[in-house]
Amino acid sequence: SQQGEEDPQALSIQEGENATMNCSYKTSINNLQWYRQNSGRGLVHLILIRSNEREKHSGRLRVTLDTSKKSSSLLITASRAADTASYFCATDKKGSNYKLTFGKGTLLTVNP
């Protein structure tokens, strides 16, 4: 089973709106990361949040982490058509600090 699972599987919004994606995981983690993938090719790292952090910001991105619920959310504010991509969360398990486990991703479509 997937360590990290994102929802929704697909999200379609209009430019300027905010997009929220969620990730749930099953085991204790050291960190949780969010990646972006365009057109099924290489992934681009967006943000890393450590298990002792609750919220982190980077530009238009806001990530929250709730370790008690084993969940995270990624908020993209004031979305742009260029934000259209798949977004993945990746977690590591405590005691296995190099192996990332990815969910199936959320496909975000931002309509101009």
Partner: protein, 115 residues
């Protein structure tokens, strides 16, 4: 600076043939990772290298898959006797040091199609 590069970008092969996929990590990165992404799926961990050694091969799906890394740099993933279910995008990543606290930098991937 140069990122992670992979070759070939695309590979079409016939069932039963062997294929080699190459990854050039970012210079100086000691850790290297291979992942596989099937259509519409997340990434599946295959193998991790620290320098030239592979402490974790647990993700390799069968003994038809092998990987090596030479000189602490370039890595080659070899799939022998390819099967149609091997069709996927194979992604390589590197990081300065091992550890998920380090960002993994991904290459563009090799899209493999086994006919």
């Amino acid at each position: 600076g140069a990122g992670v590069s992979q070759s070939p970008s695309n590979k079409v092969t016939e069932k039963g043939k062997d294929v080699e996929l190459r990854c050039d990590p970012i210079s100086g990165h000691t850790a290297l990772y291979w992942y596989r992404q099937s259509l519409g799926q997340g990434l599946e961990f295959l193998i991790y290298f620290q320098g030239n050694s592979a402490p974790d091969k647990s993700g390799l799906p069968s003994d038809r898959f092998s990987a090596e890394r030479t000189g602490g740099s370039v890595s080659t993933l070899t799939i022998q006797r390819t099967q149609q279910e091997d069709s996927a995008v194979y992604l390589c990543a590197s990081s300065p040091d091992p550890g998920a606290q380090e960002t993994q930098y991904f290459g563009p991937g090799t899209r493999l199609l086994v006919l």
